[in-house]
């Protein structure tokens, strides 16, 4: 197969390859610029680098950055704007009949053109106009690639050699490199922040769409959750009730059971491990506890559904209780076990961080070990312990798999732990799995639930942070 044949068969792949090749060349050029920069700096210093303002490496980095960064920026911008620009050019050359199509139809046509240009045959009979457009698209594409390669490599070589040429002994290369690195760090932190903002905004906007269909008050205070709605007018279906209260009560019930299990067990194991346990026991027990945190929640889920739930049902019936086979209790218990390592590991760390001098002070006053732990160590470690517990709560609130398997799907407004309940996360899963249309109240409800859940966990985290900040410097 010759090169031209390959071009025709998969130009898309070829374009990607070209971008990759340009990128590699850029990288190589930057590395070269680094070494030339170092050498030139040393040469300028006439062997004594004390004559330089910065270390030779800084001059190298400076040259490499000038060589690589502008070219990379151009490459990046091209990758982002290539398709819209070329589409615009191609569309503007199509006959008026096409241009006057509605946007959805036009998109289909453009897709056809792109597919043809990339060598994928769309249909048997094609409009000659479209064929011409596809040719035009292809030629634009290859021209663009060539132009890109030339521009980028020229830019890299040009900027790189200018930077190399401008290296002077008094040049403040270190300061400039550090400024650029600082900018890079800033950009990275911005990416994280922007991602968060983006996710939140998308959830918020979808929620607003939902609240146009269902009033906020109905959602927040409604006591009935039944998201099945009739899709067609003639269909027999649920009337659709979107009251989130049963879901939140279910979530709170299960989280409460989980915390009742995990807080005492986790806290006490942390106290034992940090205050009483011998070094050898601790060395074995702590990693084992942390393995508990590494078990996938799905595994906990079927453990809950297959082992714990039937056990609770059988035990309950022996004592004359009517226990559903999927109960809040089963899910809560297993979730509690899942959370133990969070509580114990965080508490263990904060208890260990309490200075020995406080314990000594207490012992010197004739306090026993348990008095010391109760009255000095735990109060001093309390802020850390509380924030650990709050993190565990937000973990419990957001947990899904265990509840899906062990607590059921029906939204019951009940506080009885033996009944089946459902949680916010489970409902989000059931609303969005499978084939869904994304403009009905049913699917949009998932976003509203997500927003509410996000708000709740955010508040918990803020409280945790506040507590930690307020009491952090207590014993320093």
């Amino acid at each position: 197969m010759t090169g031209t044949e390959r071009d025709k068969l998969c130009p898309l792949l070829f374009i990607m390859q070209i971008t990759l090749i340009i990128f590699s060349i850029l990288l190589a050029l930057s590395v070269a610029a680094y070494f030339f920069g170092c050498r030139r700096a040393v040469a300028i210093a006439q062997g004594n680098i004390r004559n330089l303002h910065s270390l030779p490496e800084h001059y190298g980095f400076y040259a490499a950055i000038w060589c690589g960064l502008p070219a990379l920026l151009v490459l990046g911008l091209w990758t982002v704007f290539e398709t819209p620009i070329m589409t615009h050019l191609v569309v503007s050359e199509l006959p008026r009949t096409f241009q006057e199509l509605e946007p959805g139809r036009l998109n289909l046509v453009i897709n056809d053109i792109k597919n043809m240009a990339n060598g994928i045959i769309v249909s048997e009979e094609t409009d000659p106009n479209l064929l011409a457009a596809a040719d035009r698209y292809r030629s634009l594409q290859s021209m663009g690639q060539a132009a890109l390669a030339v521009v980028v490599l020229t830019l890299a070589l040009g900027c790189g050699s200018v930077a190399l040429y401008l290296i002077r002994a008094k040049q403040r290369a270190r300061n400039r490199v550090e400024t650029i690195v600082k900018g890079l760090l800033f950009v990275c932190s911005c990416i994280a922040i922007l991602a968060t903002i983006g996710i939140v905004l998308s959830v918020v906007f979808e929620s607003i769409r939902f609240f146009k269909l269902v009033p906020v008050s109905d959602f927040l205070f409604g006591l009935k959750w039944s998201p099945q709605t009739a899709i067609r007018v003639d269909q027999v279906g649920g009337s659709g009730a979107f009251g989130a209260v049963p879901l939140f009560v279910g979530t709170l019930l299960i989280s409460l059971i989980a915390m009742v299990v995990s807080v005492p067990v986790g806290l006490m194991s942390a106290i034992y491990l940090s205050e009483y346990a011998s070094r050898s026991f601790r060395a074995v027990a702590k990693p084992l506890l942390e393995i508990l945190a590494g078990i996938p929640t799905v595994v906990y889920g079927f453990f809950a559904a297959i082992m714990v739930a039937p056990f609770i049902r059988d035990t309950g019936s022996r004592f004359g209780f009517d226990v559903a086979s999927e109960s809040a209790l089963a899910a809560g218990l297993v979730m509690g076990i899942m959370i133990i390592p969070f509580v114990s590991s965080l508490s263990d760390d904060v208890i260990n961080a309490v200075p020995q001098s406080l314990r000594d002070g207490s012992y010197a006053l004739g306090a026993t070990q348990s008095e010391t732990i109760q009255r000095v160590v735990i109060p001093a470690a309390l802020p850390g312990i509380v924030s650990g517990i709050l993190l565990a709560v937000s973990r419990a609130v957001g947990e899904t798999m265990i509840v899906v398997m062990a607590a059921g799907l029906s939204a019951n407004l009940t506080l009885n732990p033996f009944e089946t309940v459902t949680t916010v996360t489970v409902q989000i899963v059931t609303l969005l799995t499978g084939d869904q249309e994304f403009d009905s109240a049913k699917t949009l409800a998932a976003f509203a639930l997500g927003l509410l859940l996000f708000t709740v966990t955010l508040i918990l985290n803020v409280i945790a942070l506040y507590i930690v900040r307020k009491y952090r410097e207590e014993y320093e």
């Binding site: 001098s357 000594d360 006053l365 004739g366």
Partner: protein, 305 residues
């Protein structure tokens, strides 16, 4: 070892001390005799000066302390009297703090630490199996090098000990103890308006006096002080020393200090430690004016340590 040889090199012939059990008479300054009498069937090692007292509060015989395989104290014999301020001086790492921590068995909290020998307090062995370290520590209080108030209010800090030992039946009684202890520690006037603010909000010197108030709130018989002024400025140090002076009539005070001036100002008797050995014990005046052992003299005159 190089340093040791250097020190020894000044006095000919070379002193086998501290590794040998006896110090040769001719190596001692002014040719004074060492006490080497037998007490409780055991031989006093090396130490010069007045070791024995009549009716001692604390009496140590052949006390050695080991951290794992490392011996930190070598067979210490020493009596500490009632109502005396007893100072322990010596270069860093000489074992004086370790020795101090034997008296309230704080060394129990260090896992690889082992104490041998007998320490009698009012005629009872504090290292005996039947002696409860908790009740011992009620009788032997301790103030640490770095002020370590609990992260609680001033009032709670002082009330901590009386509360766990049920020294007061009512809250009023507890408050009375708190007030009295703070007054005794000379802190009352400075904190009476902010008893319920954090103890850690006080200055370093105030914190240390708070720790002393906390200690005397449970009415101990002996107070151990481990370099209580080393983290304080001269003014705060002066206040603590004044406080020690007023406390001496009610308590036995053992104080470890790096400041020889402090030892000479406040103590009745002084012990000089060197590399885990008790070199010399005696009345403070005698030790500072007329030391018997050359090592003591070197340390006091600043040629050592």
């Amino acid at each position: 070892m190089k340093k040791e040889e250097h020190i020894m090199g000044k006095i000919e012939p070379a002193i086998p001390f501290p590794n040998s059990r006896f110090v040769h008479q001719q190596t001692l300054k002014r040719g004074r005799a060492i006490r080497s009498d037998q007490i409780a069937g055991q031989e006093i090692q090396e130490t010069v000066g007045e070791i024995r007292l009549d009716d001692p509060r604390l009496s140590c015989r052949d006390v050695s302390v080991f951290y794992g395989d490392k011996q930190a104290l070598r067979g210490i014999n020493l009596d500490i009297g009632r109502h005396e301020v007893f100072a322990m001086i010596g270069p860093s790492g000489c074992g004086k703090s370790t020795f101090l921590r034997c008296f309230n068995r704080m060394n129990d909290t260090i896992s690889n630490c082992r104490v041998t020998g007998t320490i009698m307090m009012d005629g009872r062995d504090i290292n005996h199996n039947e002696t409860d370290p908790v009740s011992l520590r009620v009788r032997v209080g301790m103030v640490f090098q770095k002020p370590n108030p609990f992260p609680k209010s001033i009032w709670e800090n002082v009330a901590f000990g009386p509360r766990i030992h049920h020294l007061a039946k009512t809250k009023e009684g507890l408050h009375e103890i708190v007030v009295k202890s703070l007054q005794q520690a000379g802190l009352w006037d400075e904190v009476k308006d902010r008893l319920h603010q954090a103890g850690l909000g006080l200055s370093g010197g105030q914190q240390q006096r708070l720790c002393i108030a906390r200690t005397i709130a449970i009415h101990p018989e002996v107070i151990l002080m481990d370099e209580p002024c080393s983290a304080l400025d001269p003014i705060a140090t002066g206040k603590i020393e004044e406080l020690i002076n007023t406390l001496r009539k009610d308590y036995t005070i053992c104080i470890v200090t790096h400041s020889m001036q402090q030892a000479s100002r406040i103590s009745d008797r002084t012990a000089y430690f060197h590399l885990g050995n008790l070199v010399e014990v005696g009345e403070t005046k005698k030790i500072f004016i007329n030391p018997l052992h050359p090592l003591t003299e070197d340390y006091i005159t600043g040629r050592l340590g």
